[in-house]
Amino acid sequence: MGRQLIYVIAAICAAMTIILFLILTAEPVTNAGGSAHPIFAGMRIGGDGLARLEHIGSLGYAFQALLLSLIVAFATLGVSEKHRTPRLRAYMIAALIFSLFILWQMVSSHLNFIATGETTYFMGFPTPTAWAMYGVWLGGIPLVLIYTLGFRQFIYTDEDQAEFEKLVAESAAEGQETDNNPEEAR
């Protein structure tokens, strides 16, 4: 996956645009965005969770899955092409699978709650919300680890540093570094 990555990103963006269009044109549901609380001014309620997801639930989940894929694709794009090794790709795919697993757990436990009205609690929150709260937060941790632990392997290697220092020295010699003039740098 070298130069094709941008086409993958373009395809994901196109798919997200189409999904957003389908959601905007889907059959509307009253109070899909919530309604005023019957007792407490300033509070809003969600109401019927099943009805709100009836026409757009699957589209919303697909949108979120694509967004998680887009985040990983963007992060991969942020790695220099020469460092996008099979190992990096494996790490990125693992990071995506981890995020998608959290999404799946969150969605399935929420749908289970809607069907049964029963939920367990984890660290202060109903389990579906705990997946959203702690899980989504943790979903980005693999990217933190790839960046931090793989910094000298994928992000900014010793060779990269040497190359940049050489470039700075050459620019200084050419008198480019101070004039900040793109025309002269061509």
């Binding site: 905007l24 001014a41 969600g46 929150f125 960046y147 931090t148 940049f164 470039l167 700075v168």
Partner: protein, 498 residues
Amino acid sequence: MEAYRQEIILGAVALYMVFCVVTGLWAMRRTSDASDFFVAGRGLGPIVISLALFSSTLSGFGFVGGPGLVYSIGVSSFWMITISTAGYALGFFMVSKRIRMIAELRNCISLPDVLAARYGSEAVRLLVAITIVLGVMGYLATQILAMAVVMQAILSGTAMFADIGLVACVAISSTVLIFYCVTGGIIASVYTDVVQGGIMMVAGVLILLTAMSVFDGGMTEATSIILKDDSEAIMPWGSAGIMASLGWFFVFGLGLAGQPHLVTKMMMNRNISDNRHIFPLSVMGYVLAALLWVSIGIIMRATVIDGVIPPLGLPDDAASVFLSVFTSPLLAGIVFAGLFAAIMSTSDAFLNIGTAAIIHDIPKAIWGKNIENELMWARIVTVILAIVAALFALYSYYADATLVALLGAFGWATFAASLFPVVALGLNWKGATVPGAVAAIVSALIINFGVQLAGIALPYGVSGGLLSFVVSLFLFLSVSLITKPPVLDRDIDRVMDI
């Protein structure tokens, strides 16, 4: 101690403001040219940068608006903060290395400088600078107003300042802000950010511990009370529903890498290799500070539903009522100082990038050269910009809020939609073209302005910010793919290979 609650809070805030003034004076001695004023001479260490980065991310909105949103719409607003780990990841993977490289190679002092170098286009520089100035005005006005309203609430609780007016509070808070920004520039700004970030982290943890002790059953009892009242409010999508939540997830996640006040700080570190430490430190700081957002909102909604306290007049009162009812005066003092810290750390960052756009980028884009004595003009324009924003804030409060609301649309979402593709993709894809960048910026501005002006409410809680971001990304990619690939400057081309 309880009898002196207002005095203790006032003392904590006053102490904090004195610190800001002293820092400004200290930093003035380290500011000798425009590069020092705008990018701290690219000489800052990893701890300073990471604290400055996260404290600028979490503005006064996080301390006041955040808990208010949880009180109002439940879990929906969590999506703005749970995405932060991935959001910072994109900022570091896509922006931090190359923006720092180009800044050093071309001696850039602003984001438009870097983008003009990357695209070889003064049109891109001008468009980005104008977007920044519009956004800065809206952001600054709302932040100054928030600062003044909170200060009035604190001062009016004391016998000495019981009748103090909002204008006086705007004057006091703006004067402190202007003083340290003008004297010390970005150096004062980032070093105050360090203390501001520290206060915010401490406040976040202490508030969480306090919140967990409000109910005997801790947070579980609080969330179960909300669940019994309206299960959707405490379920993953909250009261606002799936698309409103995902809209925030999208805009706040991807959008972080397009915020000019944040990515500009990525130009200021001493060594590129420091990024491996800055990234996790920033994430950790943000997570700790954001605990306040989550815990106050949940507890306030639960206590009102349970009848422990009466309903709030406004959702944004959640934090101040929580502090007055459930915390000790000392903790309330720390959190109020943290609130001022959050507001000021964001305001000074905006003041800095707005000034750079006005005195450096717009003249350069139009006349092709820098103005004489940039440092002097930077100080003058910083004062003018802050005064205009303060007047603007007062006008919106007393006369007509429409204009600020309109410019408020130029907030996070517009920066995200218009600048993320141009910055984050542009720095990593050689095929990104000037027409693509122009299409992305213009479409984002038109959609955000259009939705705001026309007062359009999209179905299923889809926001104008989400729509404009998706369209902007799509246009940036498609227009770049169908237009002729650019010939990059030699040094930029080599940077993009590293």
